[in-house]
Every structure is written in structure tokens, then in C-alpha cells.
């Protein structure tokens, strides 16, 4: 059985390599991390666990199917940390019906079924998160993902994060890298001026360093929907 925080969509992916792509989100409940600036605490903090549902993979897929009107769509597995649960059955059921699967995870937990994904976004957490980066586990995630389309997405809150991203960038030069300004304003109507300033600063820093193979993208969904849940 799977622990699910929310299933919603269709909407568009708001960040990273697949930005702008129509998708249904399956957000699992539970996380092995507790990042200082987590923007999905409702899927992380155990105090919300009464809101989480226990569902079979078949039930989850049926809900996805209903949301997409039975038409195959990209399913984005997110969390919390979706890698802490065995999602292989869900992926298997969906792929048999032509659905594609992307997953967003920090790389702290991995499993052989990563190879079944169509796209894997690894988002290792930088120092500002106050979480520890375990490179062995991260490498195991990469290894498990095998030939899956992989991209690296790093949230940047400050200069230390940026230097840290630079180190990772040198260690994994072949992974497409996306840097994303950290959403520090988690109230319902965040200041878009602040998000814009953060993005512009990040663009400047990246260009100043000559990181011309590194993309910078803000969270588009924050521009479009603020911090509203379920969109």
C-alpha cells in the first residue's frame, strides 16, 4: 500500500527540465529529510499524516486516469520523498496504458525501479537546507536510474549553496543542471518582486561564473498560482 498526500492535475510542471509540460502530480506522504525551507511540509511533517491516504497502486492509478480523462499523460511522482516507497507497481500499471512517469527526489534513497522512469530529476539539497549530502547514496540513485533521462536540480538560497552547486557541477559535468531560486516566502501570496529579484541575481551569478551549460529557472507555478496547493 502507498501513503499519498495528494493527487492533482492535469496542470503544468512548474520547474526544472520539464517546465511547461502537462502533467498529473502524485505526491506521496513522508520524507527522510526535513529541509529548513521545505515548501511541501504538508507532505513531510508527520503532524499532517491524518490527511494522508493509504491507497493501493491500482487505486492511485485509477485516480490519475480519472483526472486525465483516460488519456495518457506524464505523471510526476513527487513528495515528500517518493523514493521512500515502492512505486514500481504504479509505474508498471501506468506504463501499460501509455502513461509516462517522471520523479523528483533528492537522491538519499534509491531503488532498482528508478530504471522504469522516463525522467528522473535528482535534487540534492544544498547546505542551507541543513540536511547532509550523502554522495554514496546519490551515486547509487544515478546508478539505479541507469539510462533514464536524468537532470539535476538544485535550489539556491545563498552563496554557500551556489559554491556547493559548483562543486557538484564539476563532479557531474554530463548531467543537465538546473538552478532554482529558493522560495523563502511560503505565505499564500508571495512577493513576486522578491522572486524576480532572486532569479535575476541567480542569473547574474551563473553568467558571471561562465556556467554557460547551467540553466536558471524560477518556479513558474509560483508566478502563476502563488503558493496555492493542488495546482
Amino acid at each position: 500500500m502507498l501513503i499519498i498526500s495528494e493527487i492533482f492535475g492535469p496542470t503544468i510542471q512548474g520547474e526544472g527540465a520539464l517546465i511547461g509540460t502537462p502533467t498529473v502530480f502524485v505526491r506521496t506522504g513522508g520524507c527522510d529529510f526535513r529541509c529548513s525551507w521545505c515548501d511541501t511540509l504538508h507532505a513531510v511533517d508527520k503532524k499532517y499524516k491524518d490527511d494522508w491516504l493509504t491507497m493501493s497502486a491500482q487505486d492511485v492509478f485509477e485516480q490519475v486516469e480519472q483526472l486525465s480523462g483516460g488519456k495518457p499523460i506524464l505523471v510526476t511522482l513527487s513528495g515528500g520523498n517518493p523514493a521512500t516507497q515502492d512505486l514500481s507497481e504504479l509505474i508498471k500499471i501506468g506504463k501499460a496504458k501509455g502513461y509516462r512517469f517522471a520523479m523528483e527526489t533528492q537522491g538519499s534513497v534509491s531503488a532498482p525501479w528508478f530504471a522504469m522512469l522516463d525522467h528522473l530529476t535528482l535534487s540534492p539539497k544544498p547546505p542551507s537546507s541543513k540536511m547532509r549530502f550523502d554522495q554514496v547514496r546519490f551515486d547509487t540513485s544515478l546508478h539505479n536510474a541507469n539510462n533514464t533521462n536524468i537532470s539535476l536540480k538544485i535550489v539556491i538560497a545563498d552563496h554557500t549553496d551556489l559554491e556547493w552547486a559548483g562543486e557538484l557541477k564539476s563532479q557531474y559535468p554530463k548531467l543537465p543542471l538546473y538552478l532554482q531560486p529558493c522560495n523563502l516566502e511560503l505565505k499564500n501570496t508571495p512577493s513576486l518582486e522578491k522572486l524576480t529579484t532572486q532569479t535575476l541575481n541567480l542569473v547574474d551569478e551563473v553568467l558571471k561564473r561562465g556556467w554557460f551549460d547551467t540553466s536558471v529557472l524560477p518556479q513558474l507555478h509560483v508566478y502563476l498560482w502563488g503558493n496555492e496547493k493542488g495546482v
Copy 2:
């Protein structure tokens, strides 16, 4: 010799498949079209032609090289319509030094050197532009681009445009399609609320039609820089 409107960067690409990617823009002067909502009239309207420069391909490349500090970067050829000039020499010089080239053009004019590009964005103009779509010429552009990474980007101003995009989508199902709300506010400080509303409406329309392989992206540079030139 090449007619150039502006060369600027490094900045990030603000739209389409390469959104967020660091790049230097080479904007050529002159266009065979005159779209009703053109947002780069300074590179299109002949009344601005005294601002355009006549430069050799070598001079253009040297300016790009200076802007990027001699470090290879993606060069985005835009306009006006860059396809109305022979850019093969510029691409050849740049590629010899490791630079990559993307081009944005409507597909009304094509040339064999399209095959030298690393990425081609074809942005055929919808009915609201008041321009005529010539499918034979469009197909010749596709043919010339050969194995180049091609994507389709269509600006959407109204429902007629959307229906038109739907027809093109069925005719070219294998081309990745990006829909972009039309920037109708060309003053220096456009209303971001309006841009957001337009984007949300476009997202709704795309999802309602079940176009799950069609991406929707606003012009990120308008969020970041308004309608400022040269960024």
C-alpha cells in the same frame, strides 16, 4: 556582409524549448513579415534601419566572443527573420571554436545551412499576426533542417490562433510543440497580472483539449525584465 540589429548577452533564453539556458543573442535586422503584434519592431521596421550595422561574419563572431569572455556559449540567432541572410559563415566560424547555435525563424525562408544549427525553433505565425502561412515553405525549412533538433513555437493571441495551432499539431505530431501567450502590452512596464492571466487561460485551454504533449510557457524575460531591450 550581415545586417545586424543588436548583439547582446550573455543572458538566458526566455522562451521555448531552451528556456533558462545561458546564451548570447545575435539579432539580425530585416524581416519578410510584419506581424500585427511584433515585439521586435526595432529589428523589423525599415524606419529603424539607421540603427542597424553592416558587419562581416568574423566581426559578429568577435563581438560574441568578447561578450562571452572567449568561453563557448549557445548563440541564439534571432531577428527580424535571421533566415533572410546567409549565416553559414558565422556558424562555421563559431562552431570551430566550440560555440553552439540555435535559431528562431518563422519558416517562410529557408536555406541548406539550417542543417548546421544545433537547434531550430520554427515559429509559424498564427492568424492574429495577419500574415499568411505558406506550408510549402515551412516544409522546406523542416527539410533543410534535416536532423537538427527542431521544436515548434506558436504565439497564441486568441481562440482562432489556438484552433490553428491544433491543426498544425495534428499535421506535425512528432515536433515538440510550445505555445506562448502573445505579449500584447509592449510598453516598458507591462502588466504582469495580465501576462499571468493570459498564461493561466492558455494552460486551461490546452489541458481542456487534452493536448498533453503540448507545453505552455510564458516569456520568462518579460517577468524578469519587462519589455526592456538588450537583456
